[in-house]
């Protein structure tokens, strides 16, 4: 849909050959823009496009008239590959979707297959999953806050700080499943391995260290006059638009809509813990950033409670290795750090591989708000807004 839009622009441009032709820029973009305007391609190789996003921006001086996000540079055909793999072989593929929150991707896929199979999951496994998912949320939001500092021109300081703490969480993951980024940890009916012996103590240490550090980020960023100048009232998304345009996760909650699939769907055991949905007030970049910060605090609360009440018992239900689920389809959704991550899984009942696996990526839907949010702003705001949507391209391009 996005590619079509830019094609239309080019066709329009070719139809009007006599208009003002900019002398700078490459020949790929012929004339077709009004006098005094220019088209600037930000990305796909650019310091603050969070990977491989290309923004085709129509500029009038510094002012952004329109912006067209162009995606697909990281497309690996995930959904098609999944059709040719065993059910269990798809789990490592999901790791490569949103590479900042692989646990959540594992979870949504595993949950879909479990719903097809109708497996009962051991209680300990549910607890371990919640601990992992919430630690993952903290790690992902830490990265988001750090990158956001970079987008606003903070010379890497915020990123170095947040990555210092994210590292501790990755160490925890490493001790659990041996990997730091692509975990391949969740299994149908539970998790791959039990927690290591000293996990509880280590996790408590990390959380105890994290809490004052989050206050430190708040002192460092949320109380910084320039940070506030750059994020307050920028890229304001009102709640109606947020819902109508399919925003989810921190972007939706930043606009003040109090919804979270962890509560509305109450999957796994989130209803057993005492925590709140975090919402922002104004729907601007700062609100979205504040949601990241406060969600980390809530996640710490959840993990602490889960660690305290972690029951003993089996961590994996008995599920055959080579699955052949009954025919049927299932739509599974969870709250990934970026929003509502959903998978539509169809099984034909005859094969050991999924018939169809469709992913609804929260980052993709949130990014599609960008042309709406970045109207009539300056280039610097455009970067700030893009960062506040927290796109991850492993998931958007799939």
């Amino acid at each position: 849909m996005i590619q079509e839009d830019s094609d239309r622009k080019l066709a329009l441009a070719r139809a009007r050959p006599n208009c003002f032709a900019p002398t700078f820029g490459s020949a790929i973009f012929p004339c077709g823009i009004a006098e005094g305007r220019m088209i600037l391609n930000i990305g796909p190789q650019h310091p603050s496009t969070h990977g491989v996003l290309r923004l085709q921006v129509e500029l009038e001086g510094e002012r952004v008239i329109s912006v067209t996000p162009i995606i697909g540079y990281l497309h690996r055909g995930f959904e098609k590959i999944a059709e040719n793999r065993n059910y269990i072989q798809v789990i490592p593929l999901t790791d490569r979707l949103d590479y900042l929150s692989s646990m959540a991707n594992n979870m949504v896929y595993v949950k879909a297959v479990e719903e097809l199979l109708g497996v009962q999951i051991p209680e300990r496994a549910e607890y371990i999953r919640v601990i992992m998912l919430e630690l993952q949320r903290i790690a992902s939001h830490l990265a988001a806050v750090g990158f956001y500092g970079n987008d606003l021109g903070l010379a890497f300081t915020a990123m170095m700080y947040t990555f210092r703490e994210r590292e501790l969480i990755l160490d925890l993951f490493e001790s659990v499943c041996g990997a730091r980024l692509t975990y391949n940890y969740l299994r149908f009916g539970g998790v791959r391995e039990d927690l290591p012996g000293n996990f509880k103590e280590k996790a408590r240490e990390v959380l105890a260290r994290l809490k004052p550090k989050i206050d430190e980020y708040e002192r460092f960023l949320s109380e910084d006059e320039i940070f506030l100048m750059r994020t307050k009232d920028i890229g304001v998304l009102n709640p109606e638009d947020a819902i109508n345009m399919g925003a989810t996760g921190p972007v939706l909650r930043g606009s003040g809509v109090k919804t979270d699939t962890r509560i509305t769907d109450s999957y796994t055991i989130y209803d057993k813990f005492d925590w709140e949905i975090v919402t922002g007030k104004d729907g601007d970049c700062f609100s979205r950033y504040a949601v990241w910060i406060n969600e980390m605090r809530q996640s710490i609360k959840i993990v602490e409670q889960a660690l305290d009440t972690l029951p003993e018992g089996p961590y994996l239900a008995k599920v055959p290795k080579l699955l052949k689920p009954p025919a049927g389809e299932v739509y599974s959704r969870i709250e990934s750090p970026r929003g509502e991550l959903c998978m539509h899984l169809i099984s034909d009942g005859a094969a050991t591989n999924p018939y169809r696996l469709k992913i609804r990526s929260p980052a993709f839907c949130n990014l599609s708000l960008l042309p709406h949010l970045a109207k009539n702003v300056l280039i610097a705001d455009l970067i700030a807004i893009t960062g506040s949507l927290d796109p991850v391209f492993g998931e958007i391009d799939r």
Partner: protein, 319 residues
Amino acid sequence: MMENPLVKGIVGAAVLAALISAALLFLIWLERKFIGRLQHRYGPNRAGKFGILQMVVDGIKLLTKEDIIPEKADRAVFTAAPILAFAIAFLPFAAIPFSESLVVSNINIGILYILAVSSLAVVPTIMAGWSPNNKYNLLGGMRAAAMMISYEVPAALAIIGVVMLAGSLNMVEIVKAQEKIWFFIPQIIGFSVFVVAAFVETARLPFDLSEAESELVQGWTTEYSGMKFAMLLFAEYIHSILASLLIVILFLGGWHGPVLPPAVWLLLKTFAVMLLLMWVRATVPRVRINQLLNIGWKILIPAALLNIALTGYARLLLG
């Protein structure tokens, strides 16, 4: 022999150029190390003890890099811009007094001369922004021009207060007048205005809008590579040194200080101000261009004018 102005000029230029280049290498190393520490990392630590040779290694690297001139660039202007920028950056140092006698050219209108030649720096910036036919360069160049032009006004106005107190435009006289009290105390408004304006003129974070890595890739130096890029980078650094020197000379008592020789005091204070510049760089995000211009025109210029009025009134009262 040293009385001959030509000989004095040539010797002074050679010594200054050598000293500034050496200071440059040291300061870039210091900045990388200092910011590394602020950011919870080591900074360069491979080339030489504490990575002290890092800048030498980097210099060799930059010298041997391919020197790319974009196909559609205006070659003459593209090549001239870094040379001009580098040369112009050295000019103001001729009138900078490192102690009462250590000054290459002790002209009577020293501060005017410095303001005049340092405002020339906008010319190579616009050249570098326009000549490579790159949109990022162009945007960066326009931003740089807007910044430099808007912030020269408050800087100059802030200096007027100092000149009124010292009663002279001569740099040596200005420092001599601070023997009893450093000017940043009676000129606290002017000092604040000048520090902010000087920060902007050095185009460092939070005011590095002309480079703005997260927005404009590398801003007005995007298309430059190899030694041409190094010259632009060094020119920016020399601007930072100059800004720190000016803050020290105009407001922080210049070479005045106990025990140590005057030139040492001046350099120590300058390094302290440089460290402040580096500290700020690692601490705050970048402002937006319209916010930056608002600060300049709506806050700094009125504040500087108020400062002039207050200084004049105080002088009238105190005779």
